[in-house]
């Protein structure tokens, strides 16, 4: 069954719609049917700061909404992926589940424990597969050097992802980039957190983290960063101007979401179908390269 409830999260649909656009296009290409559930809300990840219980209830509510439609969830945001997967892990405990369900009944919902949550990259990796993706490539991206960035919550906690990845030595995004015909580089800070979740409390700390990675990438002669979470995207892309002003740098590194790179390889229209014109750092050079 290649049918999923699409969990957009809070940020992608309003701030990074190009990620949603490209993801819908790529899923359509491979026959992955995406169902929109209008009642989906915030996954609850940030509410955990103030109330662990509130965060868990919000995640459980979203899981129950998908479960009621007998659908597994496909996510775009790494953080939503982590929050929902962790909730599934916690809700395996019957006492916790019963207590959560007591509250969910107030809104006529119940979570039984029959939902899987996977990120779009994981679905592409597991359901479509590297070989099938390779066979579908229509546009030559072999001249592309890109820096992969996984996103912490795509990998951790490992226990919530059935051992899908080794958090300190992940491989799926590298392989997916290779499948699209581009060249992922290795670099020292590739596993460094984007700081997105500390940014609302201390933008200074977040900028320090972003600067570390951008500085590391400065001499790597890459065409773009490729990542798979809109929060990481906003940090590395939209904060470059802030970094340049704060640290006196001149970064101008395009940042792409993986479905955009894959869409390019599959022959999609870069503007209409992938939204490459919507980036703050213009990927014009990339567009010239793909012709």
């Amino acid at each position: 069954m290649n049918k999923y409830a699409l969990f957009l999260g809070c940020t992608t649909p309003v701030k990074v719609p190009q990620y949603e656009l490209a993801s819908r296009w790529v899923c359509g290409y491979f026959g992955i049917e995406l169902i929109d559930i209008e009642e989906f809300t915030c996954c609850g990840i940030n509410q955990v700061n103030l109330s662990i219980e509130a965060g868990l209830l919000m995640a459980a509510m979203n899981l129950a909404l998908a479960e009621a439609k007998e659908l597994d969830i496909l996510t775009l945001c790494a953080a939503c992926t982590g929050a929902l997967a962790e909730a599934i892990e916690r809700l395996k405990d019957k006492v916790t589940r019963d207590s959560v369900n007591e509250t969910l009944r107030k809104v006529d919902l119940e979570y039984k424990g029959n939902v899987r949550v996977r990120h779009i990259s994981r679905v592409l990796y597991e359901d479509i597969g590297i070989e099938k993706i390779k066979k579908e490539v229509k546009r030559d991206l072999s001249g592309f050097r890109v820096a992969p960035h996984y996103g912490c919550h795509y990998l951790k906690p490992k226990s919530a992802f059935e051992g899908f990845e080794e958090p300190d030595n992940p491989k799926t995004l590298h392989q997916l980039i290779v499948a699209a015909g581009a060249n992922p580089i290795g670099y020292e800070t590739f596993n460094l957190c984007c700081g997105g979740k500390v940014s609302p409390v201390s933008s200074d700390l977040a900028l320090l983290l972003i600067e570390r990675k951008l500085d590391d990438l400065a001499d790597k002669e890459i065409d773009a960063m490729v990542l798979q979470c809109q929060t990481c995207y906003l940090m590395y892309s939209d904060q470059q101007k802030e970094i340049n002003e704060t640290y006196g740098k001149e970064y101008n590194l395009p940042v792409l979401l993986y479905p955009q790179l894959l869409g390019l390889a599959l022959g999609a229209n870069p503007v209409k179908e992938l939204g490459l014109d919507l980036h703050r750092i213009s990927p014009d050079k990339i567009l010239v390269k793909v012709g």
């Binding site: 809070c10 940020t11 649909p13 309003v14 701030k15 719609p17 949603e20 656009l21 819908r24 929109d36 209008e38 009642e39 989906f40 809300t41 915030c42 990840i45 940030n46 509410q47 955990v48 700061n49 103030l50 109330s51 662990i52 219980e53 509130a54 209830l57 919000m58 509510m61 953080a79 509250t103 969910l104 107030k106 809104v107 919902l109 912490c152 919550h153 951790k156 906690p157 490992k158 958090p167 300190d168 460094l192 957190c193 700081g195 997105g196 979740k197 500390v198 609302p200 409390v201 201390s202 200074d204 700390l205 977040a206 320090l208 983290l209 570390r212 939204g275």
Partner: protein
């Protein structure tokens, strides 16, 4: 950060008369924090912490120790407990399965109840109760989605409000010194 540094000085000697001997058990009574007993201060958490790397005063190892010592007021009022980037390296790499990140969430929840929550998180919780997501709707987003032929978004806050108000999250007040 500089402001936080002033209000949270690690280098002062610890006065035993000011310690709260019950703090550790109070923290341990929350299911997420039970790993604390297994912590032997090896420092793997701090060594792998990206925030510690750029701002050494933030140290998971130190915070765990302060909890064990009973430094309740210092810990709960500290701006530092909100500096975690949630990357989970501390959870993945701890040889004792302490799950510092979970302990920190317990500490943040306790601090929030005592009036130390950063305004950013209090505002976000309020927003979620209003619109179901962490943002207020803006016309430019609605228009952009129409242009891209993406489905329109509907606000569904009613269910969320009903289920999370009982946790008291809507009653939490922001800390006074936060911006």
């Amino acid at each position: 950060m500089d402001e936080a540094k002033k209000t949270f000085e690690f280098k002062k000697p610890v006065s035993t008369s000011k310690l709260d001997p019950n703090f550790k058990s109070e923290v341990l009574s929350h299911s997420g924090a039970q790993g604390l007993n297994a912590c032997f201060s090896c420092g793997t958490c701090s060594a792998g912490c990206p925030i510690h790397e750029v701002f050494p005063d933030y140290s998971p190892k130190k915070l765990a120790k302060m909890v064990r010592l009973g430094m309740k007021k210092e810990v709960l009022s500290s701006p530092y407990i909100w500096y975690c980037a949630t990357c989970r390296n501390c959870v993945e790499r701890c040889p004792q399965n302490v799950r510092f990140f979970s302990i920190l969430n317990v500490l943040k929840n306790m601090a929030a109840k005592e009036g130390y929550a950063p305004a950013a998180w209090v505002e976000q919780a309020k927003q979620v109760i209003k619109t179901g997501i962490v943002f207020a709707s803006e016309d430019s987003w609605v228009k952009k989605r129409e242009e891209l032929s993406l489905p329109s978004l509907k606000e569904h806050e009613e269910k969320i409000r009903k289920i999370i108000e009982q946790t008291g999250i809507d009653k939490i007040k922001p800390r006074v010194d936060s911006e």
